[in-house]
Structures are given as C-alpha cells and as structure tokens.
Amino acid sequence: MVMEYITHTWHWAISGFLIGLIMLTLIYFGKAFGMSSNLRSLCAMTGVGKKIPFFDWDWKSQRWNLAVVFGAMIGGYVAIHFLNDASNVTLNPKTVEQLAAMNIDAPNGKVLPDALFGNQIFQSPKMILILIVGGILIGFGSRYAGGCTSGHAISGMSNLQLPSLKAVIGFFVGGLIMAHFILPLLF
C-alpha cells in the first residue's frame, strides 16, 4: 500500500513541496540551491583556470555541491531501479499522438524515449550531435544567465528576484521555440 504510493508518479503538489523543502534545507545548511555551478566546478577541476580567469576559482569551496550531485546520482539510481512502476509517465494522449507523428516512442513507464536516449543512438551521428548540442546550449546558457532551473526558477523566484524572473521568461521563450518550431524539423 505505502509502496504503491512511492512507486506511482508523485503528485505535483507533493513533489513541488519537497523540492521547496530541499532548497530551504540547503539554505539552512548555509548554502544555496543551484545545480549548474557544478558544471563550472568540473571545468575548474581540470586546471583550465590558469588560462581562463573565469575558471580560476576555488572549486574546493564548492565540494559540498558536488556531494549533493553525487547523492542525487545515487537517488536517481535507486528511484529508477527499485521504485519504478509500469504506470509511470502517463502523458496526455494528445502528446503521445504528437510524439508518434515524430517517430518518438510512447513512455509506457519509461522516463526517457528510446528514440533519443536508447543505446542505438551511439550509431547515429545525428542523434549524438543533438544530445551534445543540447548540452552545449544548457551549459552555455545557464552560465550566461548565471543559473538554471534550480538557481533561478526555484531559488531566485522564491527570493522574489527580478533578474531570475527575466531568466525564467528566457527559459520558457527558448523552450517554446524549440518544442514548437525546431524539434518538429529535427524529427
């Protein structure tokens, strides 16, 4: 019974509340909730800061955030391998129809479509390029904007920051352009 609640899709109200609490917990620990700065840490760790001043920063002071990421990876592993259910990711039937028109497989309990993330994509230069370019946009854009969904949409908006509202407007304009005009050209 309890297990059923855990393995089914968590209600948005419960999920949102818990994400808010996670952000507040990090504030209580004297830190801030923001995931994209870990990407900067990963760059700084390579020692590239000797040549590029932006990466000449004390990433060791950010080790706590890498610990959060490490925990998140284990959490993801546990959730995907032990807490999943065939009922997961039940989409709007209209969405499934639209995806089928682009030859993207329906979820049927999976969190990611095989068409984009299945291991066969390693044989497709087009798909490899799509995933890398998407990643570049995420990395470049989040650093340019000084934060991502966690740093701006959740942390910044919770602290009523106007710059974060501007960033979130940018997130959605970019997302809408991609989802409505560019993805249909790619698939």
Partner: protein
C-alpha cells in the same frame, strides 16, 4: 563527515525529481506543449514553498545550522544576460529535456547516452568562460 549531510540531501533530491518525473524528457515536452499541468504545478508549489520559507527566515532572522545569520545573496542586476542566457538555456532544456540537476540524476540512473549531454554541458560552460568578456551582459 561534513559532506555526508549534503550527499543525503542530494539523495532525496534525486529520488524526488525522478518520482516527480521532472527528469523525464516526455514531461518537459508535454509542459512546453501546454498539454499537462504536472510540471507547472511542481514549479509553482516549489516556488510557493520557497517564498514562505524565505519570508520566515528573513522575518524571524533565523540562523543556519552553524549558528550564523542566514544571508541570501541578491542576484546581480541586469537584463541582457538573463534574457539571452535564459533563451539559450531554454532551447537546450526543451531539446534534450533535462536541466543540469536531471543530467546528473539520469546519468546516475544508468542512462549512458545522457553522458553526451553532460559532455556538451561542461563544454558549453567552458565556451562561456572562454568568450565571456566579448558577450553583452
């Protein structure tokens, strides 16, 4: 083990984002098609919880776990960097359906292909650092 409590917070974060399906490419696509309230609900409730929590922290001048006053830094003022950076981020977010948190969570879950997204994201961060001074902010 000063870092243990952060690993624990991350662990919970990984489970919550996965079970909320916020790590799902499908959910992000569905959100941008306005075909479900799910993701909007998550983001709005998270912000509402955060607003109430931060107001409590500020009004009661609460202290952090080590007894220091809690100071939440304001974001730097500006417009261009937020709109253009945000737009580029949004394009990537809808393209591969994950933001930085989920990239790590999905990789930990065993989706090898997400490694390509992480590679791109680190490279994109590097590119920004490289040409930062030439960009309008």
């Amino acid at each position: 083990m000063k870092l243990f409590k952060f690993i624990l917070v991350g662990f919970v974060f990984g489970i919550v984002l996965t079970k909320a399906e916020a790590v799902s490419w499908y959910r992000i696509y569905e959100m941008f098609q306005f075909q479900s309230f799910h993701m909007f609900g998550i983001i709005m409730v998270a912000i509402a919880t955060g607003v109430i929590g931060i107001q409590l922290i500020k009004r009661k001048q609460l202290k952090d776990v080590e007894g220091n006053p809690i100071v939440i830094q304001d974001k730097e003022k500006g417009t261009t960097q937020y709109l253009i950076g945000g737009l580029l981020f949004g394009l990537g977010w809808a393209m591969v359906g994950s933001c930085p948190g989920p990239i790590f969570i999905l990789l930990g879950s065993g989706f090898l292909s997400v490694g390509l997204v992480l590679f791109g994201a680190v490279f994109g961060t590097f590119l920004y650092g490289l040409i930062k001074d030439k960009l309008p902010h």
